[in-house]
């Protein structure tokens, strides 16, 4: 599983937007692809059906990853991807409910998508709707107090239809989690908050899909998947470099190098840079 096409399309959209957050996009995109291609139950022709699984990208700044995955799934038009962050365009920098199909919550302020997902999980259970709710959070996001408010609520109310995934790439905006405000011991923390906790390699398709299956089988608690990932995964000059969280702008040469490393032909690179 390289998901190179997804990585290329996401980076291309960020390049044309002239701003964005490539590092976290590349760390979470494999998990999103697994969710959309193998796990989420939904009807492409009836995306608003009450009987659908929900996915919320609480780390909303990784929206370009979700948009690329949604384009591959046929939910949004691939031709719209390069309109990301542009005025009068439906692809907002951070996911926004109502603007884009599939998007449940408006995100971009960390912690809130997690709570929103908890609300949906509780609402579905309350109405005896059997679908599940998936929410992805960032690692730095766990520094928000709201996450722990929600963690207590979800286990107290046994929201076993809820599965949260942490994109644990160990880096946040300015520096490593460890240097900014340490998160460990993460497994123990979530365990002690009453969650079913799984730990996986967030770039390994088998492990990802297996974890989602284990989550579905757990009836006694909500599930928290700690997905170990690499920030900037797939583009060597971005990997594990905090500056690629969001403060650097992709130059032509940088995009070219990235696309080539991700398997693009020369022609594909030119199309990506000069427009479709």
């Amino acid at each position: 599983m390289d998901n190179n096409w997804l990585r290329r399309r996401a980076l291309e959209s960020i390049y044309h937007a002239k701003s964005g957050h490539p590092g976290g996009v590349l760390s979470c995109i494999d998990i999103l692809e697994c969710l959309f291609s193998s796990i989420l139950e939904y009807d492409l022709n009836n995306l608003d059906s009450v009987h659908r699984d929900r996915f919320i990208l609480s780390k909303g700044h990784s929206a370009p990853a979700l948009y690329a995955v949604a384009a591959k799934a046929g939910i949004i038009d691939e031709g719209r991807l390069n309109g990301l962050r542009k005025i009068d365009h439906e692809l907002q920098a951070h996911t926004h409910r109502g603007a884009t199909p599939w998007v449940e919550a408006s995100t971009g302020s960390l912690g809130q998508g997690f709570s929103f997902a908890i609300g949906e999980a509780h609402g579905l259970k309350f109405q005896n709707i059997k679908n599940r709710v998936y929410v992805m959070i960032g690692d730095g996001e766990m520094q928000e107090g709201e996450i722990w408010e929600g963690a207590m609520f979800a286990s107290h109310h046994n929201l076993n239809n809820l599965c949260a995934i942490a994109d644990y790439n160990k880096l946040q905006s300015d520096d490593s989690n460890e240097n900014i405000m340490g998160l460990e011991p993460l497994y123990d923390k979530w365990k002690s908050f009453g969650w079913n906790v799984l730990e996986i390699d967030g770039h390994n398709e088998d492990e990802i899909i297996n974890a989602f299956k284990l989550a579905k089988d757990c009836s006694s608690a909500p599930t928290f998947i700690i997905a170990h990932t690499i920030k900037g995964k797939g583009v060597s000059y971005m990997e594990n470099v905090p500056a690629w969280h969001g403060s650097l702008k992709l130059s032509d040469d940088e995009l070219r190098d990235a696309l080539i490393e991700l398997g693009a032909s020369k022609n594909e690179v030119e199309v990506a840079i000069h427009g479709r």
């Binding site: 919550a105 408006s106 709570s115 929103f116 609300g119 949906e120 609402g123 309350f126 109405q127 107090g145």
Partner: protein, 321 residues
């Protein structure tokens, strides 16, 4: 128009929070999608009535307002009508959640805040919210209302359930004066003239409406004819009515149990500045925090009583052209 004398029903009547809690419970038989979110304070907000009748629809969120507020957006996304309840001041704690997960996402959530203003009394400044109207009013998509008596509160409770979209509503802690009768008709976006007059218009909301009527009665004895408007809908505000009042009376006093910055007074001033400007005096707290004390003592110290409305009315008349 017939003058309506405010009747004190403290001994037999309800506070605004009680009126809300009881009416919500009653209406929830009809509105089966209503769920109530509480942050361990149901006895204070009036929703203990709902909890007793509908324990399964009552969602205890613990003392965790940020999660409660954003969660309400998610509940609404599944088709429910969540009512978020706590003290007004703790709504401020979660205002960014109200902004993003409710207002920006345009979710059908009702935020109902008890304990607004100095009416909170002895619990002091930390619990007395004097900034909520201005904060919530500035959020796009958010309707802001502050009913004045138990009759209006009952009607407003139905109105917020019928309305589709985010609403912030103030209730109140103290026993209230009854002002209205069943002929009253609350409507979002509409102000109502409770007493007619030609020299000036007093525009009030919440507990200040009763004080404004008392002030108007007293002013009448001095030969000043004051119109009283109950402006329970602070956003959207009834600009048409304000324009008419400006044309017909040419001077205003606004009265609210809230800071004079950005609340009802601010909304009235903004509206009039765009139509027919008239001089305005603002009755409200003047950029200060409250303190412990009984509501009436606090209202006196911080200049919210009928006496202060009278003073403001006389002052604004000196500025009237």
């Amino acid at each position: 128009m017939e003058d309506k004398k405010p009747i004190l029903i403290a001994k037999t009547g309800d506070s605004l929070r009680e009126a809300f809690g009881k009416e919500l419970t009653k209406l929830s038989q009809e509105y089966k999608d209503v769920v109530v979110l509480d942050a361990d304070i149901a006895g204070g907000t009036g929703v203990h009535h709902f909890r007793d009748k509908y324990p399964n629809r009552f969602i205890q969120c613990g003392i965790a307002e940020q999660n409660m507020m954003a969660m309400a957006g998610g509940l609404a996304a599944t088709g429910l009508i969540p009512i978020v309840t706590t003290f007004a001041v703790f709504m401020l704690r979660a205002i960014e959640q109200a902004r993003l997960s409710i207002a920006y996402a345009n979710m059908n959530v009702k935020i109902v805040a008890s304990h607004p203003g100095l009416d909170v009394g002895p619990d002091g400044a930390s619990a007395q919210c004097l900034e909520d109207l201005s904060c919530f009013r500035s959020i796009p998509n958010m309707v802001v209302i502050s009913p004045c008596d138990p009759i209006e509160m009952k009607q407003a409770t139905r109105a917020i359930l019928e309305y589709k979209g985010p609403i912030y509503m103030r209730t109140g802690r103290s026993d209230t004066k009854r002002i209205l009768d069943d002929s009253y008709n609350f409507e979002i976006g509409k102000g109502v003239i409770l007493r007619d007059g030609i020299d000036l218009t007093i525009v009030a909301c919440g507990v200040e409406v009763a004080r404004s009527i008392e002030a108007a009665e007293s002013l009448a004895k001095d030969g000043i004819s004051a119109r009283v408007v109950n402006m329970s809908s602070i956003k959207p505000i009834d600009s048409d009515l304000l324009e008419i009042c400006s044309k017909e009376t040419g001077a205003f006093v606004t009265a609210e149990d809230h800071s004079i910055i950005g609340g009802l007074g601010g909304a009235v001033a903004e509206s009039l500045a765009k139509s027919i400007p008239s001089p305005i005096e603002f009755v409200g707290t003047n950029d200060v925090f409250g303190e412990s004390g009984e509501p009436e003592e606090l209202a006196d110290k911080y200049k919210l009583t009928s006496k202060h409305i009278i003073k403001a009315a006389k002052l604004v008349l000196t500025r009237k052209k």
